[in-house]
Symmetry: C2
DNA sequence: CAAGATAATATCGTGCACGATATAAATGAG
DNA sequence: CTCATTTATATCGTGCACGATATTATCTTG
């Protein structure tokens, strides 16, 4: 990489786009999720469980690229809200398995409306969002690999 | 938007890509910034000041899509580190102007190496990163507008 | 089988991020 | 000019996020 290819302006750093976009997303989602009594990270965690119930803390954390020390208290709050249960695995006494409760499953029905509203607010086409997602995954996985 | 266009899998939600990528970016940057004694949000804030010194708390917060209640303590920590000064504006006694110190300006010289390393770690081309940035800005600005 | 190594979660301290509220300065309506 | 309103920071409480460390369970090597 040549020196003149290295961006110096904040606007040109890819981290700046992700950083500011994540704030905007968090704000937009929070508006919808307040009605459900959920925070944005809690909501994302629930989407993983809707897709596959009974995941371990470790599995959820890896999927979210998050430390378990962050997820443990978050899941405890979801438990306090009555949306999940936490139980030690029978097979491995170290692992904690997270399961949805009836209340946690019920929230799933309210998700599509939120998603549709968010997509509409972006003003972007599904194809563009798809491209964005692919680029983000490549960025993420590239950084993680090195 | 038709019902079948609404993604339900976590992997398909654009928020998921931004959320997980932001964790990966934060982790990758922190590795480089530890040497400089900076956190990732502190570093991003400094890049704005390197570009234009003497901005108000409000200006920085808007640029970062962040609340001033987040930025106030962050800038105070940068002040405690000796990288910036905080002074009430002469023209407007409510506003606080943030200026770089010699030490804060000196850090700028070490930024290009960090940026180059991060870009290289992504494994992506400058053109791809440019596309990603444009999509992120459109997403962000679309959400903010609505 | 026993002791050390590894692995999964939990705890703790610091910093980021937000909304609600407070404080103080500037603005505006009369 | 005065008082209400608006604006710019600051403060506070809650939750997210990380790294360092602790705890407990499993695995491994001898």
């Amino acid at each position: 990489m040549n020196a003149h290819d290295i961006p110096t302006r904040a606007e040109d750093l890819f981290c700046f786009g992700v950083y500011t976009a994540s704030h905007a997303i968090n704000r937009a989602y929070s508006g919808h999720l307040k009605r459900l009594g959920l925070t944005y990270p809690q909501y994302i965690t629930l989407t993983l469980l809707w897709e596959r119930d009974g995941q371990k803390i470790n599995e959820l954390a890896q999927c979210l690229r998050m430390e378990t020390s962050t997820l443990t208290p978050l899941v405890k709050r979801l438990e306090a809200l009555g949306h999940v249960t936490r139980n030690r695995s029978d097979k491995d006494g170290r692992a904690v398995v997270v399961n949805l409760t009836k209340s946690g499953r019920a929230l799933r029905d309210r998700a599509p409306a939120v998603t549709a509203c968010m997509i509409q607010q972006t003003g972007m086409t599904p194809a563009e969002l798809q491209t964005l997602q692919e680029l983000l995954f490549r960025l993420r996985d590239g950084l993680q690999a090195s």
